[in-house]
Symmetry: C2
């Protein structure tokens, strides 16, 4: 289970301010802290509606690359910012992400093929909504698999995100049980050891306080780990959750166990 | 997920002393504390090799029954103590337990039939060893299912214990991944919603300290919950683990989620 830091989001006030001022220090600091805490990749989220997304992405990529050697995941809904970001990366980055939305397929898939890079694919319906159940997610996975093949992208480039639902949604816990089922069964369904990613922070959207948020994330993370998720997108700077992640890894990774 | 307290073990010094002296106070206190903490059943373990097992079991059952109304699980390898304990219970108790060991089948199964009570069945080989993998456990489950039928016991009386392995065993983590798989697939294999139980304390046998023990139990408990385990046999007096159990319940139980 690979920990991917979700801390570098332009919507975080400190990061947003740093990007506005083109001040690399807070970003460098954040990237280094995530790496030291145990993150093995970092998601650079330049925000959904920001102005000058290309410049911002370039600045973020350059700053993080200068600070540490963590693999980068570029997270933007702007195809232009994505293309610029990919071109700026010195090592191969991962695209985050594509879905069955026609404009995503048309503009993001070609970038994955041109750059021959990994791509995160969300199990959403073409209209952008979350499928009602596990079967709906499986259907989306098969459709995305085919779209990749048609676009000349090896399905082994796919990293599937089954979309963790906020628990507070009306059917949030049922949705998340479906997420676990999908992670468990996707490799059989698609016929190869397809990689998966899950965004842990989504789970606790709307939680009343940090303690409650942490409590539910600590309970759901082991469920994801046991289901066999490949990557967890999470707050890499919460030591309590990191300790749970380490214990999960030690229980599930199939190597000889040692107390630690 | 039902929390079953494993705190009432004669091998715990305070409980062992109380039983030797026939002093009900510490036992009463322990039973009440478990109930208040959220346990919904209590396992009475009169020890594997104790002298006068029948008297001890009778004393324990009477004392706990006088203190609280928790359902009882009688945990003894002595068929005589089991028979006496069952006869002493005013409400129907659960037998813990049977396995494919011939002497167990011969002496414990008839007690389950006579008392028309639930019975915990361990997925062990007839020689008492833990099966090497999930397939070995499934085989044991099917064999136990048949033995029950042959003995005139409804398989719906079965509560299957797939035997959590100490992590520190050479293949401990692989074994525990098999445990999760078995819990998940048993209802399909046996064709009815068979109940399961898992002993969480076994996981951390030999842990170097309480913090490490707690850390691994907190990581494995959600894995068991997501696999659909019916009952967890655990230390009901550890608030940190109980809080994880509550969060798991709230995530997995299929009712409308509310923050708590």
């Amino acid at each position: 289970m690979i920990i991917v830091a979700d801390n570098l989001r332009i919507t975080m006030p400190a990061i947003g301010r740093a990007v506005e001022r083109m001040d690399p220090a807070p970003i460098r600091q954040m990237a280094c802290a995530c790496r030291e805490a145990g993150a093995r990749a970092i998601d650079i989220n330049s925000g959904p509606l920001s102005r000058h997304p290309e410049e911002k992405m370039t600045f973020l990529v350059r700053t993080v690359q200068a600070a540490c050697d963590l693999p980068l995941i570029l997270d933007t809904s702007s195809p232009e910012a994505m293309a610029t970001g990919l071109a700026t990366c010195s090592q191969k980055a991962t695209i985050n992400g594509v879905s069955l939305a026609p404009e995503k397929l048309a503009r993001i898939l070609p970038l994955a093929r041109q750059n021959d890079c990994d791509i995160i694919a969300y199990l959403l319906r073409p209209d952008g909504h979350v499928p009602a159940d596990a079967a709906g997610r499986m259907e989306a996975a098969v459709a995305l698999f085919r779209k990749c093949q048609q676009a000349g992208i090896s399905p082994r480039r796919l990293i599937i995100d089954p979309v963790v639902a906020p628990l507070a949604w009306q059917d949030g816990n049922r949705q998340n049980m479906a997420v676990l089922e999908v992670i468990r069964t996707l490799p059989d369904l698609l016929g190869f050891p397809v990689r998966t990613i899950a965004g842990l922070s989504n789970l606790t959207t709307g939680a009343p306080d940090a303690d409650t948020r942490r409590r539910y994330q600590k309970a759901f993370l082991p469920m994801l780990a046991a289901a066999g998720v490949t990557m967890i997108l999470m707050n890499a700077l919460d030591p309590a959750i990191l300790r749970v992640a380490e214990a999960c890894q030690n229980i599930t990774d199939g190597t000889i166990f040692t107390w630690q």
